[in-house]
Amino acid sequence: MVDALAPFVTTVTPWIGHVMSLILLLPVASFLILVVFGKKMGERSSYVAISAVAASFLLSIIAVLFVMGGGRAELSFTWLSVGDFHPTFGLLLDPLSAMMLIVVTLVSMLVQIFSVGYMHGDKRIGWFFACLSMFTASMLLVVYSPNFAETYIAWEGVGVFSYLLIGFWFEKRSASQAAKKAFMVTRVGDLGFAIGLILLYVVAGTLDMNKIFGMDLQAPLAALIAILIFCGAVGKSAQFPLHVWLPDAMEGPTPVSALIHAATMVAAGVYLVARSYPLFEMGPVSLEVVAIIGTITAFIAASIALTATDIKRVLAYSTVSQLGYMMMGLGVGAFAAGMFHLFTHAFFKALLFLGAGSVIHAVHSQEIHDMGGLGPRMKITSLTFIIGGLALAGVPPFSGFWSKDEILLGAYTSGHTAIFWVGILTALLTAFYTFRLIFIVFFGKPRGHHVDHVHESPPVMSVPLIILGTLALVAGMVGSPYLGHFFQVFITNSHEVEHANMFVMGLSIAVAITGIFAAWLKYGTRLLPSGVISKDNPIYKLLVNKYYFDELYYYVLIKPTHAIAKYVLSFDQKIIDGAVNGVAWVSTKVGSGLRQIQTGYVQNYALYMLAGLIVLIIWSFKILGVY
């Protein structure tokens, strides 16, 4: 597998080089245009942004076809050159990056089209599309990067534009709080990433991926570096214990959530692990860490989703959980399965978020208990949402089934039995919370007061839903046994694929159906009494309070930091500056010959200084033996 992944360079035919750079530069150009003219252009800003990303998408198709034809390409230049450090930056086109180019540009394009309707009338709409463009461009650069330093730059670019977009409605305190939280939490993960890069540079003498992947680093050292790099991925991909920012990031406009959850930002962490896979393989312990963190994340997030009542938060926790599955897949060695899940998840999660956006747009609330009975009133939204839900729950033949099944299969065949069973349990929870959401929102009796005049969203919003719905239905096929695991073969460049295991497949179908059935019993039919679980139940309380992670960080990290800062400042003012002022006070008293001379005139002080200077010079001459 290492060979297949190691980026290698072939002679770049000029046209593919142009295609590659245009895919990246078009959204950048859109950003620059909109930063300058966005305010003036208003709603028309969307034309610029959408045409740029649409062109990038079409060019990405060309790039993928080029790669399918066996082509590989790399553009590079020397970023800087100091001492013995000459990092080469550039753009790398190989199966992995080509696949991601498609996902990123396609989802971004659909999200931007949807935003035309959703953000209609917002006074900063030009800035919104500018940020979306650059958010996309940063992610494309992460995807393309053949150098860890370049990855880090693009990575933080993704971070900062998510910061600006989550806090887009910055007048809202909760929005700017959420933006701050997202930035800070991911930055904590990035500290590990940064230290990993420093170590890597010290050990390998370079940050160019193809050089590093060709080396034979000692296993413990490689594992340490890989785990440090994985810290960055834990932050960005919202893995336990740094998952806390993603649900709060819901404060951003819903299209932004869709983009963050599907194609950019959170996918970056999974992609980073995939891209650095050869390094992880040099220190296999690191992969165990990835698998364990992924599994814990998948379970914890799914359990929190059971009690969440905000439609976007349920989806947010489902994202965290699904990202955990991806990490689990990468960690247990099911590399292609992990990436396949990233691919299918991008479509069905974008679909679910945009569907939620469509619902929120209609109901003006995010509380699921204000909804209900929306199905007949919003046919396209509800139908596509249910398709997305089926994909998330892992029901065949919807896309999520194929990829999740592959991950579980990987855990099973690699002997990670405990991980496998937690994965199965999480699949059960996933099906349950997904259909809890669907039954409450789209079925039953209307609850909110807005529901009476609810109507379907305009075509600019519903068409992206239909396209994503179709993808959520069929995208899994490309990795299914029926098409010869085409996706996996393409990504790994190898024909050794896992053969379907009837036990695993049957079990995962069974838990999905069970979960949906249970949700139907509880929320669809009301056959189960509503007070089964008391509000005082400790487990319920634990879940509603999200395992108290936010409180933990507040008391363990944030509060002490502020306390230390206060202490250091008072030390600075009282001790250090106090000493300085004390010295000044003593010397003026002495120098004044006990007269009151604190005149404040600099001439006087200068005079003392001059006197002091002369004394010093004489003294120095003396010790020098000149005098």
């Binding site: 020397t78 970023w79 800087l80 050159s81 100091v82 001492g83 013995d84 450090f85 330093a149 880090y152 730059i153 693009a154 990575w155 933080e156 670019g157 600006l164 806090g167 910055f170 007048e171 305190r173 700017s176 709080q177 933006a179 701050k180 930035f183 800070m184 930055r187 904590v188 500290l191 940064a194 230290i195 890069l197 420093i198 170590l199 540079y201 010290v202 930091t561 502020h562 230390i564 800062a565 206060k566 250091v568 400042l569 600075d572 500056d577 300085v580 000044a584 404040g600 600099v602 002080y605 200068a606 200084m609 002091g612 200077l613 010093l616 120095s620 001459f621 010790i623 020098l624 000149v626």
Partner: protein, 488 residues
């Protein structure tokens, strides 16, 4: 070479200051325009300096040397290398910025601009001087106009701040003078020529004594912990232009002198004491970040952030590896641009809100989005956001320092989170959110304010995206420095 470009650029502001004395005080706009034209002309002269500079060539260039007091070995000797050229050019740029920033000063306009131009003479001269006496004169020349700028046009507590600044830095320069004289009398070369002293190397038993005098002189200027307490007072009380030049240029005089004088003339002593300098550097980094986090005053926060950021520069210098030293020199420029921009913005926002209390600000971006957005940009640059210039410097410093100081480097990386914390918090509380005061009459950045920031934005982005052309100037000088270190 046909024209003495360095002499012209150094003394053009002096001519400008003299010219201003002939303009009636009442003609404030004429005075402002003349000052601006002088600063622009000086900046324009920076272009032939760049084009006449031979890239990739080590050693001093654009050298002008005239014997001054031959019996004492004093000469008028100026020149630039890859260490001083970037600082010189940055000073030219920041002069234009500060002239624009001072436009709103209404009180004693002529005196203000005269002081500003005099300050330029001192700053440019300090970076170009290659004779110790000349260096000392320029170094001291900086002190006086800055004292008046803080003391006359400063905030409420200006006298205290000005006197503190003056005494503190004067104490430093007096020590430096002692060191210079000791060096002169014991080197046996009978010269104040810095280049000759570098080439000869200093091998006298007084080396440690001289090192200590220089160390105090420069550490105060940087400032390194625990000699930093003049800085928050001076920065906060100074008017906007004063803060920009203090942070942008004056602090760099300290780090510049470390590399130019201590490292190159006393390489043995520097190598010996480098671990202690690195210790003070890491203390400055962490301590500055914590004190910045505790600030309620926006300007004070920026001031304390300088203590932390200059600590990174000193760590890079103390590491003495090619990568770290390149990073340190680049970071001097970056800090000048970024912190200069932050002080500009704090000043512009203050002119509107009349408060710098972070808890009373808020919602700046709602009413004046350009200034708010620029502040967010500068804050992101300051926290080392990749893609902007601050990151490149920090990256090189950290990559290069690890081999020398592992624990310190890891601590410095962790402090980056703290840096992000206080800056993001400032964004959140001062710029975002709902306006906490009536902002009806507020106008967004006018053309003058806008154009004072744009060049900074451009360079912050350019260096951040493609630093190679900038580092190409610095790298040869770093090689020279490290050869001296290796030779010691």
């Amino acid at each position: 070479m046909s024209y003495p470009l360095l002499t012209i650029t150094i003394f053009l502001p002096l001519a400008g200051a003299l010219l201003l004395q002939f303009i009636p005080r009442s003609q404030a706009n004429v005075i402002r325009t003349i000052a601006l034209l002088i600063a622009l002309a000086d900046l324009a002269l920076g272009i032939p300096i760049l084009t006449n500079y031979h890239l990739g060539q080590a050693g001093m260039q654009l050298v002008e040397k005239v014997s001054w007091i031959p019996s004492l070995g004093i000469s008028y000797f100026v020149g630039l290398d890859g260490l001083s050229l970037p600082l010189y050019e940055m000073t030219l740029l920041l002069m234009v910025v500060s002239v624009l920033a001072s436009w709103s000063i209404k009180d004693r306009v002529r005196e203000h601009y005269s002081m500003l131009l005099l300050l330029a003479v001192g700053m440019l001269g300090t970076f170009a001087a290659l004779d110790f006496i000349l260096f000392y004169i320029f170094w001291e020349l900086v002190l006086i106009p800055m004292y008046f700028i803080i003391g006359i046009w400063g905030g409420e507590n200006r006298t205290y701040a000005a006197v503190k600044f003056f005494l503190y830095t004067l104490a430093g320069s007096v020590l430096m003078l002692v060191g210079i004289l000791a060096l002169y009398f014991t080197s046996g070369l009978n010269t104040f020529d810095m280049v000759k002293l570098m080439e000869a190397g200093y091998h006298h038993y007084l080396a440690t004594f001289i090192f200590i005098t220089f160390f105090f002189g420069f550490a105060i200027k940087v400032p390194m912990w625990p000699f930093h307490t003049w800085l928050p007072d001076a920065h906060v009380q100074a008017p906007t232009a004063g803060s920009v030049l203090l942070a942008g240029v004056l602090l760099k005089m300290g780090t510049y002198a470390f590399v130019r004088i201590i490292v190159q003339i006393l390489p043995g002593e520097f190598t010996k004491f480098a671990p202690y300098i690195a210790l003070l550097a890491i203390i400055s980094i962490v301590y500055g970040a914590y004190t910045a986090l505790a600030q309620k005053d926006l300007k004070k926060m920026v001031a304390y952030s300088s203590v932390s950021h200059m600590g990174y520069v000193m760590l890079g210098i103390a590491a003495l590896t090619p990568v770290a030293l390149n990073g340190a020199i680049l970071q001097m420029i970056n800090h000048g641009l970024i912190t200069g921009m932050l002080f500009l913005l704090v000043g512009y926002i203050y002119e509107r809100t009349h408060t710098r209390d972070i808890s009373k600000l808020g919602g700046i971006s709602v009413k004046i989005p350009v200034l708010g957005g620029m502040f967010v940009f500068a804050a992101l640059a300051s926290l080392g956001l990749p893609g902007l210039s601050g990151f490149v410097g920090e990256l090189l410093i950290l990559l290069g320092s690890y081999t020398a100081y592992q624990i310190y480097t890891i601590l410095a990386v962790f402090t980056l989170a703290l840096t992000a914390f206080y800056l993001i918090r400032a964004n959140q509380n001062a710029i975002f959110g709902i306006p906490k005061m009536a902002m009806d009459g507020f106008k967004d950045a006018n053309a003058r304010e806008f154009f004072s920031m744009i060049p900074l934005v451009i360079f912050i982005v350019l260096i951040g995206i493609y630093p190679k052309p900038f580092l190409n100037y610095i790298d040869p000088a770093v090689n020279t420095v490290l050869q001296i270190i290796r030779g010691s």
